[in-house]
């Protein structure tokens, strides 16, 4: 067999594989296309049989209804607040990671052991006691209560520590000699130098907070405190006859994440690859 035919063969094989993967990718992403297409169909079209692929008379009435007749503006606001709480948690975890990376203090070893230990405990075990603890603190039915259980995770502290260990100690010492305060050093030197890991964690925190479902479901019993995910689950039970409205609501939840993903793809994939390593 000559090299040129072998090369042509190999190229044909790559093209075939590419085509197969392309079809697979379209099938994988199909539910999202179907969601977006249905969200702009009139109700009659969305329950038509046989279904039409493209909307015949596109309408945005369902999006309008979500925010006027239904309470989705409030759910959206609550979701944003939960995400913002998550960012506060991120700052606390960065601080802890810094302490573990750059200070020698009593109790460091066993504290770090606890940090690692929490990574192995499934949420089912902590679900009920955490609810009871929050109830004891009178924080059930508050947005803070929704955010608290996942505010700090051992894994993120661990990642911050790993990354911040690589910051040269001499730089911190130099700043101390120049008279900089410890918090100033943290905010002006340590955080800016931790850019890559911060970017990854900010994106992951956003996605996690935005999508979080279990804690809002358990903690929020008042409809005023529902997040998008809980509001959406409610829609599932109440309005089984209007797929268009459901798909519009699902789109409200999914599209921002898709935008974040497209813009910050590198950080998202890097972050998930790292979090897969826990």
């Amino acid at each position: 067999m000559s090299t040129s035919t072998a090369r042509a063969r190999s190229r044909a094989l790559t093209a075939t594989i590419g085509a197969a993967l392309g079809v697979g990718a379209l099938i994988t992403a199909f539910p999202f296309f179907w969601m977006l297409l249905t969200s702009v169909k009139p109700q009659r079209e969305s329950i038509d049989f046989p279904p039409s692929i493209l909307p015949q008379e596109p309408t945005f009435e369902w999006y309008v209804r979500l925010f006027t007749e239904l309470d989705f503006a409030r759910y959206l606001g609550n979701t944003v607040i939960v995400v913002l709480f998550g960012f506060v948690g991120l700052l606390l975890m960065a601080m802890a990671g810094y302490a573990f990376a750059k200070f020698d203090f009593r109790g460091r070893r066993w504290m770090f052991f606890l940090v690692l230990a929490t990574m192995m405990i499934p949420v089912q075990v902590t679900m009920i006691p955490t609810y009871l603890i929050l109830n004891g603190m009178k924080l059930t039915n508050t947005l803070l209560g929704i955010a608290l259980p996942t505010l700090v995770t051992g894994f993120s502290i661990f990642l911050f520590r790993q990354f911040m260990s690589t910051i040269p100690t001499e730089m911190l010492e130099a700043a101390r000699i120049d008279g900089a305060g410890e918090f100033r050093i943290f905010f002006r030197i340590v955080l800016p130098m931790s850019g890559p890991i911060l970017a990854v964690q900010v994106v992951l925190t956003f996605i996690g907070g935005w999508n979080s479902f279990l804690w809002p479901l358990i903690i929020a019993s008042d409809q005023k405190l529902y997040t998008l995910s809980v509001g959406l689950a409610l829609l599932n039970q109440q309005l089984a006859v209007n797929p268009s409205l459901q798909m519009a609501a699902a789109s409200v939840m999914v599209v921002p994440i898709l935008v974040v993903f497209v813009v910050f793809q590198r950080y998202v994939i890097q972050g998930f690859a790292l979090s897969g390593l826990k």
Partner: protein, 292 residues
Amino acid sequence: MRNRLVPYLFVSPAMILLLAFGILPIGVAAVISTTNMNISAFASWSNVDFVGLDNYATLFADKDFWQALGNTGFFAVIGVPSIVVVSLVVALLLNRGQGRFFRALRSFYFIPAITAIVAVALVWGYLYNTQFGLFNYLLSLVGVEPVQWLSDPWLSKFSVALVAIWRGTGLNIIIFLAALQGVPKEYLEAASLDGAGGLRQTWSITIPLLRFAIFFVSVTTTISWLQFFDEPFVLTDGGPLGATTSASIFLYKEGFRLNQFGYASAGSIVLFAIIAIITIVQLRLRRADDEY
């Protein structure tokens, strides 16, 4: 003196939260599991009695708990091999091309992993709908009668698992792709010079070199299937007739619908023990595998 306090200032806010919501709950769960605590405890703590191991005894006699454990095992047996094989195959194929097209495809496979489960479940519920769902329409094109995707006790297990498999592959594809970066090109070139074909190279060189990644993905995927919750919760609420009630859904219902905190805590400790034992066994098998 001031300097010695500094690390504690940095570390304590996060540590306090971690202790309160990561460590303390385990102890609380263990204690509650030996009581008959339910909603009446909120009225007065005197309504809570120590019952020893009664909850555990009741649990092991509870048909529903065994059904939930059986379902969880079934889901794991279906789900783990599917996810490992599908994500490995897709990653191997994706790794073949390095162009922009192949990189763009990665994103498509990854999207299900980052989108909200509630939204995803709503979309799949619509696709699965018996009367006007797209799947039944596609079946009708080839002359198959409408199928009860989510209300048939047997089929619903597969329908729910399919959504979770669809959602679970993206992350593992990324992990396999990262591991594939570490396969030395020289090995493959040498094999190619010896006349080994692409399939043979993959089977005899690449896959053995990926052993650790495959093991890692298997362990993490097993753990996540043993905790299986979101998909059946939103799609079927554990029905029909408990056919898709996983152990986690059983615990959620006992805890938050029936407010049997003591009973549910006992169940959660049992589930935790099962997950821990299976993980340890997997780690042991891995070690034995390394020795030969």
